[in-house]
Symmetry: C2
């Protein structure tokens, strides 16, 4: 699993459509479709149901989504924690 895969997954979940998610992520559909497949393979279960006009979350995907968002939020906080100046006890 990679942070990219997690970000890709969230985008697909939010767009409900791999093609639109690819546009938003500035990559093309095939790599995005492949990364989703690899994520599902690694997790051992499908996360979306494929339909003719898009994809919809399966229960496992819905459960995964919550934690996926937490991961991305924590990464963002980690970045900002480094930039942030440590509190000065004298002020």
């Amino acid at each position: 699993m990679s942070l990219d895969q997690i970000e890709y997954f969230v985008a697909i979940a939010e767009e409900g459509n791999i093609g639109r998610a690819a546009l938003r992520l500035h990559i093309s559909q095939p790599p995005l479709s492949r990364q989703l497949r690899r994520l599902e393979d690694e997790l051992g279960a499908p996360l979306f149901e494929r339909h003719p006009r898009g994809v919809t979350l399966l229960p496992a995907g819905t459960r995964f989504l919550q934690h996926a968002r937490s991961v991305l939020r924590e990464v963002d906080r980690a970045r900002r924690a480094v930039a942030e100046r440590p509190p000065d006890p004298h002020t």
Copy 2:
């Protein structure tokens, strides 16, 4: 930033020594040292102070560490959330 880099960083912080962390991670020192450097470059600040016998966390590193651990914990929960069977309202 990648999950590998985060895992590498935590290992180095816990071992206080890049060589030992490399043993624990089953990789060699050079790639580990390089990944740490890249992480620091991307974050725009050093996370460790280099000493002749190892490394010690700088304040920014200490702040980063907490969020790094949260990220890894959340990834683990994400994995398990997929494996977990959803609650059945009938039981």
